[in-house]
């Protein structure tokens, strides 16, 4: 059975006041992760052909085709993990 760890290489907090969290997908699983996310989330906008502005269950985030997703205002790691479980598995 797959887990979030199968898809995610690293999760990095950022140092700005925006509290962005960057999820970096494993290189060999990024296409699978992106496909799963695009299947489940609603596409609000596609920017310059490389960035998807998405909405899933009321939360907006951005997905980059090189294999990253940036979430804003995530309260804690558990909330993010719950979100990733729904998006990836």
């Amino acid at each position: 059975m797959s887990t979030v760890a199968d898809y995610v290489a690293r999760i990095e907090g950022t140092c700005g006041a925006e509290s962005d969290v960057i999820v970096i997908f494993k290189y060999e699983k990024k296409d699978e992760a992106i496909a799963s996310i695009l299947k489940k989330a609603q596409i609000k906008n596609k920017i310059a052909g490389i960035i998807f502005e998405l909405n899933f269950e009321g939360t907006s985030f951005r997905l980059y085709t090189s294999g990253k997703a940036i979430f804003r205002g995530v309260k804690n790691r558990q909330e993010l993990m719950d979100f990733l479980v729904k998006l990836l598995l």
């Binding site: 950022t14 925006e18 962005d20 960057i22 310059a48 951005r62 980059y64 940036i70 804003r72």
Partner: protein, 410 residues
Amino acid sequence: MDIQAIRRDFPILKRQINGYPLIYFDNAATTQKPNQVIDAVTDFYQNHNGNVHRAVHELSLEATELYEQSREEIAKFINAKEPSELVFVRGTTEAINLVAYSWGLSNLNKGDEVLLSLMEHHANIVPWEITSKIKRFTIKYASVKPDGTLDYEDFESKITNKTKIACLSHVSNVTGIINDVKSVAKIAHDHGVLMLVDGAQSVPHLSVDVQDLGMDFLAFSGHKMLGPTGIGVFYGKEEMLKKMPPFMGGGEMIKEVSYSQGHGQCSISWNDLPWKFEAGTPNISGAIGLAAAVRYLKSLGLDNVLAHEKTLAKYAIECMNECQNVNIYGPSDLTKKLGIIPFGLKGFSSHEAAAAFNEYGIMMRSGFHCAQPLHELFKLESSIRASFYIYNTEAEIDSFIEVIKEFNQI
């Protein structure tokens, strides 16, 4: 300068990122390395590797010779009076910690004051905040004007008869603003105050003469000036270093550790300068690599380096000002700053923007850049920072502007 010839010296610039040629605009964070530096480090490990000092075998002697030659070359580069005034450390952060712990803990007490500015990198704030909790001295922060320049009047007004040391960045790592450290050092010295300069963003880009500028202490990092990571320089005037106790203890920094003379304890005598401050095996290859970087920069001429960066910054600012989705922070007056441009991109957080530029192979930093107080002062959540160096070109700026225009659809 022949930029195309320079670019050929940097193997990493041949890389592609996400299918695009690498455009490296994160030079204020770290710089790329020319073959001359890579070769110097490789040559050391392939041909001369041995531990420095205190051995008589050939490899140790060669390693010592290369290490101490490097110190001499770098000391000349900043016009230190003596090579013994130059201590090899890991980088700017360690150098400032060395001053805060060695000089600070033995010279600062309750009631004393340390003067910093609000544009400092965290490396020039946190060591002082930590040691102030130990010795209960007071830290004062000089303000920054709305245009990002230092408020010199506020700086001078905060010097009192209790102030012992003033610590200031030569160049802001966020805005690229060049502080007039020579004038500030004179003001400090007129009040009997010591002057520490954070040269992390200045030594790589402009000619720094520690004697002319009147610095008591200078800190800078090798990796921001084409050198390896993990090597940096702490400069201190000889009379200051002589009076300061060691920062870290261990091998190399002692002359003698005697149990027989110590009455149940070890009696210890310190080594001469600069080795008193270099505990343990130093970063030998790093020092050799940094000397190679210094030779490379000297061969270009620092005046040419500075002129090239200013040309690029002028061009970038002009192009960026034509983009409606860009907001440049801080002054655009290039007489006051280096080639560092902090900005915001409409519709993106700084991290989203940096990730978006990365999709096009453009590397830039986002966030607070380790200068949160400055961002708070200007009420900025964070910023993206484009910073240029010797190998960047106007063509790269054109590509950068094209990407900005693509993002204008938000």
